[in-house]
Symmetry: C2
Subunit: 335 residues, 2 copies
């Protein structure tokens, strides 16, 4: 592998000149520049990244941690992140934490070691290892959250208005005439789930249907949707079920089938996220659409603003959601 020294020797100039040709060509005379460029080509020179990084204290990398990369919702967000990062000349270091605090901490350490310039985390927990950093650098801490909103995190973030979004989903069900509604939330440790549940409760209250709510907690997985929906159907059967993720809704759909019922005739179903498979389910799933790509783009923008020193205060970006009504919801049969 050729080094800058090799190029310098080959072109008969100093390493400083070679470096200039590559990063500030306007400082170098035309003829010299051509000679150096030729040498670079001939030797196939590529600047050693570690050396550059050591000198500049930049890595041009963004660390992204996600609870589960194989979840289509997250992988869509990551796609957005990757795209925005790449456009800005950054690359993406991916960490799949599997919802485990240990792994979150491990990845957090990478930031401390300066293996990345910043961190975007899509979970709800700020790793403990980073607390000192946030305390010390405040608004300038290169850490951004995606999807969750919590003022306690102390970092900027991008997300939808979860309370309002879930309230809208409930409005839709109440509007159709549903009274008894089952709700399968995500883990209540995450503010996101709590916000959505709050929206659900507020809407139920507003319709005088608080008593008709049956709330159970899932973990966003297909399996938990299947399990919890089965339980909901076995008890005092709701005429509609609202799941806090499309994957859980898929599980719920399966539960409805297994119970010998059909959707939406016997039970209406609403999901959350609008992953790309939602519209291809049978029946197509009514769900709250989140702008995954934009969330990805926004968190990157927030982080870049911090890295460039542009950020002056914490910024919480609320992106628009949209209730997409498809075939899985209908008026209740007995109405």
């Amino acid at each position: 592998m050729a080094t800058i020294q090799d190029v310098a020797r080959d072109a008969g100039v100093s390493t400083a000149t070679v470096s200039r040709v590559l990063s500030a060509p306007e400082l170098v005379a035309e003829a010299t520049r051509a000679r150096v460029t030729a040498s670079v080509e001939r030797l196939g020179y590529q600047p050693n990244f570690a050396a550059k990084s050591l000198r500049t204290l930049k890595t041009e990398k963004i660390l992204v941690t996600v609870p589960d990369i194989s979840n289509p919702f997250f992988s869509q967000v990551i796609r957005g992140v990757e795209e925005a990062a790449r456009t800005a000349g950054y690359s993406v270091l991916l960490g799949d934490t599997r919802h485990e605090a240990d792994r979150e901490e491990e990845y957090a350490a990478m930031l401390l070691r300066r293996e990345a310039d910043g961190l975007i985390f899509l979970g709800h927990r700020l790793p403990e290892a980073l607390a000192p950093m946030v305390a010390a650098r405040g608004v300038r801490t290169p850490i951004v959250n995606g999807c969750e909103y919590s003022s306690e995190l102390g970092v900027s973030g991008a997300h939808i208005d979860n309370a309002r979004a879930s309230a809208e989903a409930m409005e839709h069900l109440y509007g159709l005439g549903h009274r008894r509604v089952g709700v399968i939330t995500g883990p209540l440790a995450s503010p996101l789930s709590r916000d959505r549940l709050e929206g659900v409760r507020a809407s139920a209250q507003a319709h005088g249907q608080a008593a008709g709510l049956a709330v159970v907690a899932g973990d966003f997985s297909i399996d938990s949707g299947l399990r919890e929906a089965t339980a909901l159907l076995a008890a005092d059967r709701p005429s509609a079920i609202f799941c806090f993720s499309d994957e859980m809704a898929m599980g719920a759909l399966e539960a409805i089938r297994r119970a010998g019922l059909s959707c939406p005739e016997d039970v209406s179903l609403v999901g959350f996220d609008d992953i790309r498979f939602a519209e291809f389910l049978n029946p197509p799933l009514t769900t709250v659409s989140q702008p995954m790509d934009r969330i990805g783009h926004e968190v990157v923008r927030l982080l870049l603003d911090i890295l460039s020193g542009k950020a002056q205060a914490l910024e919480h970006v609320t992106l628009p959601h949209r209730l997409v009504v498809r075939g899985s919801t209908a008026p209740p049969a007995a109405a």
Copy 2:
């Protein structure tokens, strides 16, 4: 951020000793070690990664490029890669190439700049920029392919026996009594698609049904499945459709519905991959199951063998596939 110098000063030793405490503690006397460890704790010292990397010429990073991260098949493979990499102390740099050669080349350059120790690519094209590297270093080139098999790539890889797998899918359909079968392949630029098509043709030939094949090319996306299946159904309608990906099968399922037909009564459907949503479709999808996790683990192992100098020759790992028969296939109605 504390440096090794700070720690050395704080502990009253040289930087060499600090370095030893961290990477080869057995060389340092018990008492000194304790003192240094205490200083490290107190100062919250984390070795600067770029400095270490510059010195050791290692990055402990693996670059993984994938045609589309939001595709559940790939995201499952990546999950496996991430897990295996992490276990071995490596982290994952993710590149989403969107099937574009430009982006592949861009990411390839990262390997040349030594931003990563090795590359795992899940596409079918070896970036041109890396050809010299493969030519120069041969078996020791730290590049591994996942999913595709092609001896021309000149690199090791892990994949299933695609020809055999698709032949088995066809056997299943012929066994049920289907004669006229529509096939939606992936882009034929990829050996993987060609291998599967070859398996399809061989099986058709063996059953004397070569004339009954209707082959069209998709691009693995839901949309292309919908589009191509619609075309297939409009022409001389096949009694079964075999798609080279589950996503295309989802599109095909939608096409069947839109055509006012039902699956499997009117048209049987077989997918490929067995993504986690396949069994929750309605009807549950018959498909060829690929061991995504294992593919991920194997490509990492192959790469680590190369990086550690263990690899002696190109290695092509063939992992087991399995035809999973579910509700989307049945004997043809007219049979």
